[in-house]
């Protein structure tokens, strides 16, 4: 059987990427919010 070697990923390397991913998600949420606003306006019209 192959023996799997385990490498631990450095947390310091992960943090900046998480911030970027979170910011990307935030952008998507902002876009979604503007669409929800327009749906709500439609409903009121």
């Amino acid at each position: 059987m192959r023996k799997t070697k385990i490498l631990k990923v450095d947390e310091k390397k992960i943090t900046p990427k998480l911030i970027t991913i979170i910011n990307d998600l935030k952008k998507k949420l902002d876009q979604l919010e503007s669409e929800v606003v327009s749906l709500e306006q439609n409903k009121n019209n």
């Binding site: 192959r2 023996k3 799997t4 070697k5 390397k13 992960i14």
Partner: protein
């Protein structure tokens, strides 16, 4: 929508405050949007609303993934690191830029993508990650783009000076689309659309109303688009087996050619293979739902479930203070459940780690039974299954028990072309004769692991001294599209790859229909398989596997046809 315990997930994160704060902001926004979308969807099953709910759900899923990720150190195996290196080489040359990762839940498939992106960012590269969680309602076209017609009609009414009849008609169509009565490719709607376009084109706001401003790119569309701009993108298509077959076959071309056209605007988007990596994950149980045409075009990698030693390492990375006897107890219990086929849902790594966390807080000695079972086992029926923890090692069930099909057998029964490799390739004394084969693979640009051996001293009674012996550390393995490794020296090999492999193959599986053979004697019988000696075409075969449908599987010596 599934129950989602955001707050507790985020609170238990132990990373820097800044990340926690960012996540909290996202969380509040998601909650807010959810509460606003709910009344909209109740009143009207509007197509536009459902799309937004789906997108919100995807974002929520990404947030869970991140908060999970932040709770414990991530462990990546050297094996996956190698797959990534191969994928990079193939993508650079434009040969292949997607990989299918198959494995049980908890083998780190999803987190791998996140970790790769992290490493690249650390190196100062501008990369992004697009995460799609596949659902059975998804259509391939949703993954590329959609047009927000409703928003466009509203804008036309608000901004353009429209003749009253067109304004009223715009309202009429808007309601129809919102109600889901028509699709936007409806013929009558198209006629109206052209009419409105003609009017607005003459006005000042015509430019604002151009379709291109109302295109919402889906995740695959977005990934292809970003790659065309020279930006490096990872597209993670998660749990693809949950999608319908149409979804998979529908996106095959786009994944291979990275090209699509937005019909309404005629815009063609052509991505750049060198910039896009597509990581597709699938759980083992349902991996046969993925069409083989899909597999052929991708690299394929099977992640084996961590063996006990590896799992001990993973646990220690998470709980550095854990005592050896508690660790052993926890692993005994965990593997007893994990290897039990009677369970409806086997526990996997996250459950094990959560359970140990509770044990560390509540137990000051090794428990007699299994406290807090509910953390490991989600079903009541499973919790009632007793495990015997105190059997001696010698009595434990062997790793591969005879009542289970091996992976190779399972695939062969499903009709895949399964071949056996010459095991000499992993023998330290024989491996030299394969040097030409390794060179041939190298020249053809096919990636592989060479077998690796380590030396150790063994006492030799005859000589009365230690002699050097070699032990296999890493098996030979090919990593290439069209060749799928099944473990234990077996491969699925597509026809176009057979030629390269023919010198090292020794056997091929053959499925024999019930009517074509006779059972001579039965050796053993279990729930799923029978082992028997059979007679087929006047030859006698020993210890043959027969499945529940009465179909036999022979491993025949390989001959090139």
């Amino acid at each position: 929508m599934e129950n989602f315990d955001f707050k507790s997930k985020i609170e238990s994160v132990n990373n820097p405050e800044i990340l926690k704060n960012l996540l909290f902001q996202l969380f509040e926004k998601v909650e807010n949007l959810e509460s606003r979308l709910k009344p909209l969807s109740k009143e009207n099953p509007m197509r536009g609303v459902q799309d937004k709910i789906n997108r919100l759900d995807q974002i929520k899923h990404s947030i869970t993934e991140i908060s999970e990720r932040m709770k414990r150190p991530y462990v990546i195996t050297a094996e996956l690191q190698a797959v990534k290196d191969v994928l990079d080489i193939l993508a650079e040359t434009g040969d292949c830029n997607s990989v299918i990762l198959e494995g049980e839940p908890g083998t780190g498939k999803t987190q791998w993508a996140y970790s790769e992106v992290g490493q690249e960012l650390q190196d100062g590269k501008d990369v992004s990650l697009i995460h799609v969680r596949v659902k059975d309602t998804m259509r391939a076209s949703d993954l590329l783009y959609s047009i927000d017609d409703v928003r466009r009609l509203s804008d036309a009414q608000a901004k353009a000076v429209l003749p009253p009849d067109i304004r009223d008609e715009a309202n009429f169509w808007k309601q129809k689309i919102l109600n889901g009565d028509i699709k936007t490719d409806d013929a009558e709607y198209k006629i109206f659309r052209d009419k409105m376009n003609a009017v607005t084109e003459l006005s000042e706001v015509g430019k604002d109303l151009e379709y291109i401003n109302y295109v919402d790119l889906g995740p695959l569309g977005e990934a292809i688009y970003q790659s065309s701009l020279g930006k490096k993108v990872y597209l993670l298509i998660d749990e693809i087996e949950k999608g319908r077959e149409e979804l998979m076959t529908g996106m095959l071309d786009e994944i291979e050619n990275l090209q699509f056209t937005i019909g309404e605007t005629g815009t063609q988007i052509k991505g750049d293979k060198r910039n896009l990596r597509i990581i597709i994950t699938t759980n083992t149980e349902d991996s046969d739902k993925i069409p083989s045409s899909f597999k052929r075009r991708s690299l394929y990698h099977f992640i084996e479930y961590p063996q006990r030693d590896d799992m001990a390492e993973i646990v220690k990375l998470n709980f550095s203070n854990i005592q050896e006897n508690l660790l052993n107890y926890a692993l005994d219990v965990f593997y007893a459940y994990h290897d039990n086929d009677e369970l409806q849902k086997k526990p996997s790594t996250p459950e094990l780690l959560a359970w140990i966390k509770v044990l560390l807080k509540t137990q000051n000695k090794i428990p007699d039974g299994v406290p807090h079972k509910e953390i490991l086992l989600k079903y009541l029926d499973d919790q009632n299954i007793e495990i015997d923890l105190f059997v001696k090692d010698s009595q434990k069930i062997p790793e591969k028990s005879f009542n289970k099909l091996s992976r190779a057998e399972f695939k062969a029964f499903s009709g895949e072309p399964v071949y056996g490799l010459n095991s000499d390739i992993n023998n330290p004394n024989e491996v030299a004769k394969f040097n030409d084969f390794f060179t041939a693979l190298h020249n053809k640009g096919i990636s592989y692991y060479t077998p690796e051996f380590s030396e150790y001293d063994e006492w030799d009674n005859d000589q009365g001294d230690y002699i050097k012996e070699k032990r296999l550390e890493n098996e030979f393995q090919i990593i290439s599209p069209g060749i799928e490794y099944l473990g234990e020296g077996y491969y699925i090999i597509n026809n176009d790859k057979l030629d390269i492999m023919k010198d090292v193959l020794v056997s091929k599986f053959k499925v024999i229909e019930k009517k074509d053979f006779q059972i001579d004697s039965i050796i053993s019988k279990s729930k799923d398989i029978t082992k028997a000696n059979i007679i087929w075409e006047e030859n006698y075969y020993e210890n043959v596997t027969i499945n529940n449908d009465g179909i036999a599987l022979l491993e025949l010596e390989f001959q090139v046809l």
